[in-house]
């Protein structure tokens, strides 16, 4: 028989043994299975006991991963994180002694009455190679919803934090220093790359312990000053692309202020929209809405002092909330264009003079503030950190011939430090288009107009009177937008066109 010979048996045995090895590795293009990076660790919560309802904990802990080249405001311009991990309140507080209402009703212990310490693991994956910062918060009131810009940031009472190097100081109010987490192995060109077995960083602690004292800077445009320079229509505030200042002189604050197109932003929503804004689906805290105004740590030295001023002048402090006007993608009223083109407004306390006279330890609450629009924009590509940014100024001088950028080197250096890349200066007409208006606190809490509350989604049928979108009220004040429109002097723009870095 064929099996009777020893060589035959050995042959079959060898064949059997030879076959059982691992299949070669091949990752198809486009499939999500290729090696990537992961960051794991623990969320360490130290803060007020959470709210409960129906036997469960309200809210969740959210951890964001941001690439260091694409940080969120105020440090950067990112609007989307590279990763988001969620740990529900039930998971985070498993094992903690909590209060529950016997009727199932919502029960929120006083933020100062009881403190809880707990921790829970988290995992962030998949991530590309790079250096990351982790930031997060515990959504104590359960109003977070990443699907909408109205709800995608922490609010008052939420407990914020991140993977920081100075957790104790940050809890005491110092500016947090976020840990830089390098994910990947160094490659030949010095950049980080994901090896074939993936990259993983374990043991990262995300400390949540800072109860946020303020709500997000909800606003609407209450008025436009010097709007005749453009168009003061509140729903579409137009700034000409060749926006020119008659005077820009710190020795002439009145004249300078009068040269600037200024927006008066009012906290919250107009009275006509307050009721709708407090009802579903918004449920926004509009009672006694106000802005929390402070001096900004503009030079990122951890201190708020006289060195924290606007680039154009040493006497004008840089105030928070920051005002950023970000260009929207063509055809969209909610999506930021890429590359990012933004105009940074000047936050003022009533007037330029009042702002200049404010103290470094300024901390006040106001129902309104003034944003002066600079005749300049910064053009930056967040996806290519190696590319320089461009500071685009509409004119070299004001109407009196005074340079708008008297110290270009210093200005560019300040901006470079702020933006984390080289900045080049260009003079030309501003990029036309629609711009969203953003107010940003140093905590990262921000508000953007236009937003979903003022705009009907494609599947939401608008009512004939424009007051409703499908099944909810439409809030017109939240559809306001800034427009950079046609130049007053087309010949000027023909001679000084928008540079390519801002025109792509």
């Amino acid at each position: 028989m064929i099996f009777s010979t020893l060589p035959t048996r050995l042959l079959f045995g060898a064949l059997l043994l030879a076959g059982c090895s691992d299949a070669p590795t091949f990752v198809p293009g486009g499939a999500a299975g290729g090696p990537r990076g992961a960051i794991t660790g623990s969320i360490v919560f130290t803060g007020p006991a959470p709210c409960t309802r129906n036997g469960t904990v309200i809210g969740a802990a959210i951890v964001f991963a941001f690439h260091e080249d694409a940080l969120p405001p105020p440090e950067g311009l990112a609007t989307e994180p590279a990763g988001i991990a969620v740990v529900t309140g039930d998971q985070l507080f498993r094992g903690s002694s909590l209060e529950f209402s016997s009727s199932g009703a919502a029960l929120c212990p006083s933020p100062t009455a009881s403190f809880v310490s707990t921790s829970s693991p988290f995992a962030l994956a998949p991530l590309e190679a790079g250096t990351y910062q982790l930031r997060g918060f515990f959504d104590r009131d359960g109003d977070f919803n990443p699907a909408f810009s109205l709800f995608n940031l922490p609010t008052r009472g939420d407990v914020a934090g991140g993977a920081v190097e100075n957790p104790v100081d940050a809890l005491a109010g110092a500016i947090p220093h976020y840990r830089s987490i390098a994910l990947g192995a160094p490659s030949a060109d010095g950049t980080l790359a994901i090896p074939e077995t993936g990259a993983r960083i374990d043991g990262v602690s995300v400390n949540l312990g800072l109860s946020l004292p303020n709500e997000r800077p909800m606003f609407h445009v209450g008025g436009v000053l010097e709007g005749a320079k453009g168009n003061g229509e509140l729903q579409a505030i137009v700034v000409p692309s060749d926006y020119e200042l008659n005077s820009f002189d710190t020795n002439d604050p009145t004249g300078t202020e009068a040269s600037l197109i200024r927006l008066t932003l009012a906290a919250g929503f107009p009275a006509s929209e307050a009721a709708a804004g407090k009802a579903m689906p918004y449920s926004l805290p509009l009672n006694d809405a106000s802005f929390a105004i402070t001096r900004e740590d503009a030079n990122r030295d951890g201190k708020r002092d006289a060195a924290d001023h606007v680039p154009e002048s040493t006497v004008i402090p840089s105030l928070a909330p920051l005002a950023l006007m970000t260009r929207l993608a063509d055809g969209s009223s909610l999506v930021t264009a890429t590359p990012v083109v933004f105009m940074q407004g000047l936050t003022l306390l009533d007037s330029l003079t009042a702002t200049a006279l404010s103290k470094p330890d300024l901390a006040t609450k106001r129902a309104s503030l003034v944003i002066a629009l600079r005749p300049a924009a910064i053009c930056i590509d967040p996806h290519h950190p190696e590319r320089p940014a461009t500071l685009l100024v509409s004119h070299e001088t004001d109407g009196n011939g005074k340079p708008l950028i008297p110290d270009p080197e210093g200005t560019l250096a300040t901006l470079a430090k702020r933006l984390g890349r080289k900045v080049e200066l260009a003079y030309g007409c501003l990029r036309q288009g629609n711009y969203a208006m953003n107010l940003v606190y140093e905590t990262g809490q921000a508000w953007t107009v236009p937003n979903e509350a003022g705009t009907c989604a494609t599947s939401e049928a608008p009512s004939a009177d424009g007051l409703r979108c499908g099944g909810r009220a439409r809030l017109a004040s939240q559809a306001q937008m800034l427009q950079v429109g046609a130049p007053r002097d087309p010949a000027y723009c023909a001679a000084h066109p928008t540079p390519p870095a801002c025109a792509e």
Partner: protein, 817 residues
């Protein structure tokens, strides 16, 4: 003077048996056997008995057939060679044919004649030793022998017949659809052990191997993952997976050693088979109980391949059975997950396994009267499979148990068939990024399928003949799966069909069929129809021109009709709710996919050496069911209480997705030309070419551009060799041109559509075998699949997300008792 009377060519002892032994499409022993048979019959009619008998013996050696053995016996009887006739009759009766009682009478009469003759001869010797023995008397018609059946065609034996196209036995030339048959010889000589790979040689077929255990089969431009546009049957019973609509080929309870043939009907078949026969029908027909010898086969190969099959087949009077058990192991060609990956969570599965299967199958048949039989069967399979889903759902590990029980009653005019199947599985993704779900689930499926068919032939006035067929079918489906809504309804599908095949004389015919199906998920009745006009230009009926038009539909699967699954995005803390229903539009329902097909076909089998066919078709495909674009969450939904944090998953819902019907309409033009040559004994050569071009018509704001996932050109060619020395084998080549796929993938931006080009590829397969021992009972063989991988081109992918399909070698040993 010799007479040839009572030549009763057994056209069908039982239709399954005849069909089992006479089917052919890609060239094999049948043609050779038929040549010898026809030659022998012609000689016998001319009184040349001995040479004629030799030809019949040769035919029977090439391809044993009971009709031939009977005809040999009759020829001996007519030639007066009574001892040989008796021996031949006894050989025929040894197979316990259905008509053995009548044949026994003939045999007894013959034995009586033989005894009388011997006595006469002995008396003559005793009385007159020097006298010459008496001259054998002229053959008389044996008393009780069946008279000439003048309606029996000359080519009664080895007549090629198919059953799937019309649900009744007929010649492929009469079949209303283009029909291809993969014969037992094709299966044997190719050495291929996977049924999908056997189908690749059929013109116009798309066979897509994604992993070692996931193959998708479609035809004429309906390619796709979880391929669900071809209805797959085993012995007429639907075996597709109702959960997904696809067929998991590796989990069938039969392996290739149990197959008699595979019939492939190209073109819509809903008018007879109902939903899901959108592109065509594949009917896998097993070797009938009692047929063939018992035996076994074992094989091993590189990469850890394994194959084992044992079977026993016997007949005891009216009862026959065939039992088989098998094991197959197919590793993945490549794996996505490199060893030592640190960024993923793995399921507890072997990452190298593509498919590993254990199967058992028992089929029995009991004759319960003249042309009546009762068939019972059970089957069981246990499989470990690596399969790819749709959209961003890839690389699933499935562990499934499958069981079925079948029963059928057949008579000349009635078939009642029922089948119960149970599937239970554990399924999860093989791996996922840390913090991501493996989507573990435990689906179960129970299906009860019952069909009643009535058929009759009616002769009308003049030369009008009707073959009418009608029937009803009921299919109950009960599914439980956590991916779907809960509770799931039990679905009751009901269908009724009718067909009339009208012949106007010998050359013209019209076949019209229609069916109504109630589809529970749609709550509506869906009609299907087919009409075929047939012209046979030559008097011998060996050419046919057919023009047909047909409609068909595919009803939504359970996954499409009842999906309710939160799908985690790459940002692990967020998800989209993927549902078949839409919160914003409660009246939304997925419509069935529809096809309107027109075909023109020419078949030529005039020559014994060459046969070929040409087909051209047009398809209009509408309402293709596909993954919907993700719809971002709206504030209106939030106002209605939809959205926010999902406490069950711990993720935030940011949008919705699910299924939709494409807003575009596909217009497809295609054609197939193929033929085979059997002019040299022992050598069969086949080749075919298929072309397929489609465009998607869009109107209004329809932005669905579709893709090109079917190759424009496909070529198959091959040669089979059978030498008297026992050496045999096959070489085959397949080539197809490039494709371009649009697939949904997960990214940080959500679930997005992306385009993936796929280059064309070729496959070179071969088998060489050597049969030895008396009766060629034993055989050793070597089989290579995709011999050219990494030689002339990189190992191809057949889908952008699939494995690189490399080269595989297997060695086999088989033995038959």
């Amino acid at each position: 003077m010799t007479r040839v009377r009572g030549w009763r060519v057994l056209g069908g002892v039982a239709f399954v048996t005849v069909a089992a032994l006479t089917s052919l499409a890609l060239g094999d022993e049948r043609s050779e056997a038929r040549r010898h048979f026809e030659s022998g019959m012609a000689m016998i009619r001319n009184g040349r008995y001995l040479p004629g008998i030799a030809e019949l013996e040769r035919a029977n050696t090439i391809l044993p057939h009971p009709s031939v053995r009977y005809n040999i016996a009759r020829a001996y009887a007519d030639a007066g060679l009574l001892e040989e006739a008796v021996a031949s009759y006894q050989g025929y009766l040894a197979r316990e044919p259905e008509d053995q009682r009548g044949i026994l009478l003939e045999l007894r009469e013959l034995e009586a004649r033989l005894a009388a003759e011997k006595k006469t001869t002995a008396n003559a010797r005793n009385a007159a030793p020097c006298q010459a023995p008496p001259t054998p008397s002229a053959p008389e018609e044996s008393p009780g022998a069946r008279g000439d059946d003048e309606s029996s065609p000359r080519e009664g034996a080895y007549r090629e017949e198919v059953v799937t196209a019309s649900r009744t036995l007929e010649s492929p030339l009469d079949a209303p659809n283009s029909t291809t048959i993969i014969t037992r010889q094709d299966i044997y000589l190719s050495g291929i052990t996977r049924i999908p790979e056997l189908l690749r040689r059929v013109a116009g077929m798309d066979v897509m191997q994604i992993t070692g255990g996931d193959a998708n089969v479609s035809m004429r431009g309906l390619n796709g993952r979880l391929s669900n546009k071809v209805l797959v049957l085993v012995n007429g019973n639907i075996v597709k997976n109702d959960l997904l609509g696809a067929t998991f080929w590796e989990s069938l309870t039969i392996d290739v050693d149990q197959l008699e043939r595979i019939e492939i009907v190209r073109g819509p078949g809903s008018s007879l088979y109902g939903a899901d026969a959108l592109g065509g029908v594949i009917n896998i027909i097993t070797i009938a109980p009692g047929e063939g010898a018992s035996g076994g086969r074992a094989g091993i190969g590189d990469g850890g391949q394994g194959y084992g099959s044992v079977w026993a087949s016997q007949r005891r009077g009216d009862f026959a059975f065939r039992v088989s058990s098998g094991y197959t192991r197919y590793p993945r060609w490549t794996r996505e997950l490199a060893p030592g990956r640190t960024d993923v969570t793995r399921a507890d599965v072997d990452p190298n396994i593509g498919a590993e299967n254990l199967r058992f199958d028992l089929r029995t048949a009991l004759r319960v009267g003249k042309e009546r039989s009762l068939e019972l069967g059970v089957g069981f399979g246990r499989s470990t499979l690596d399969v790819y889903g749709v959209g961003p759902f890839n690389d699933y590990a499935v562990y499934a148990d499958y069981a079925e029980a079948t029963a059928a009653f057949r008579s000349k005019h009635l078939v009642v068939r029922t089948r119960y199947s149970h599937l239970g599985a554990d399924a999860q993704q093989s791996h996922a990024h840390l913090g991501h779900s493996l989507y573990e689930s435990h689906p179960t499926q129970r299906v009860l399928d019952t069909n009643i068919e009535l058929s009759n032939a009616v002769v009308g006035p003049g030369s009008l003949r009707h073959s009418v067929l009608g029937g009803v079918g009921y299919r109950l489906k009960k599914v439980d799966w956590s991916y779907l809504v809960s509770p799931l309804p039990i679905e009751h599908h009901v269908g009724a069909f009718a067909q009339d095949a009208v012949r106007f004389g010998e050359r013209f015919g019209v076949t019209a069929s229609g069916r109504l199906d109630y589809v529970p998920a749609l709550r509506t009745v869906v009609p299907s129809a087919r009409a075929t006009f047939l012209v046979q230009p030559d008097a011998r009926g060996r050419q046919a021109v057919k023009a047909s038009i047909a409609t068909a539909f595919r009803s939504p699967t359970f996954l499409e009709a009842y999906l309710d699954l939160p799908v985690q995005l790459q940002l692990s803390g967020v998800e989209v709710q993927s549902s078949s229903r839409r919160d914003a539009d409660p009246s939304f329902r997925i419509a069935p996919e529809k096809i309107l097909a027109a075909e023109l076909q020419y078949q030529n089998r005039s020559s014994d050496d060459v046969e070929f066919e040409i087909a051209a078709y047009y398809h209009r495909i509408s309402d293709r069911i596909q993954l919907a674009q993700v719809r971002r969450a709206t504030l209106s939904e939030l106002a209605g209480g939809v959205g926010g944090l999902n406490p069950e998953t711990g993720r935030y819902r940011v949008g919705s997705s699910g299924w939709e019907n494409s807003c575009g309409v596909d217009h497809v033009l295609g054609g197939e030309v193929g033929g085979h040559y059997v002019g040299v004994e022992g050598l069969d050569v086949f080749a075919n070419y298929a072309v397929n071009y489609g465009i998607r018509a869009r109107s209004g704001d329809c932005a669905d551009a579709g893709d090109q996932r079917t190759s424009h050109h496909k070529v198959n060619a091959g040669a089979q060799l059978r030498l008297p020395s026992g050496v045999n084998g096959e070489v085959s080549v397949h080539y197809q041109t490039s494709q371009s796929w649009s697939e949904q993938i997960a990214s940080t931006a959500g679930i997005v559509d992306s385009s993936f080009p796929l280059p064309g590829y070729q496959l070179l397969n071969g088998r060489v075998g050597y049969a030895f021992l008396r009766g060629r009972r034993a055989e050793v063989s070597a089989v290579v699949f995709n011999a050219l991988a990494n030689v002339v081109a990189p190992a191809p992918q057949m889908h952008p997300f699939g494995n690189q399909v490399g080269r595989r070698l297997m060695l086999f040993f088989s033995y038959q008792l």
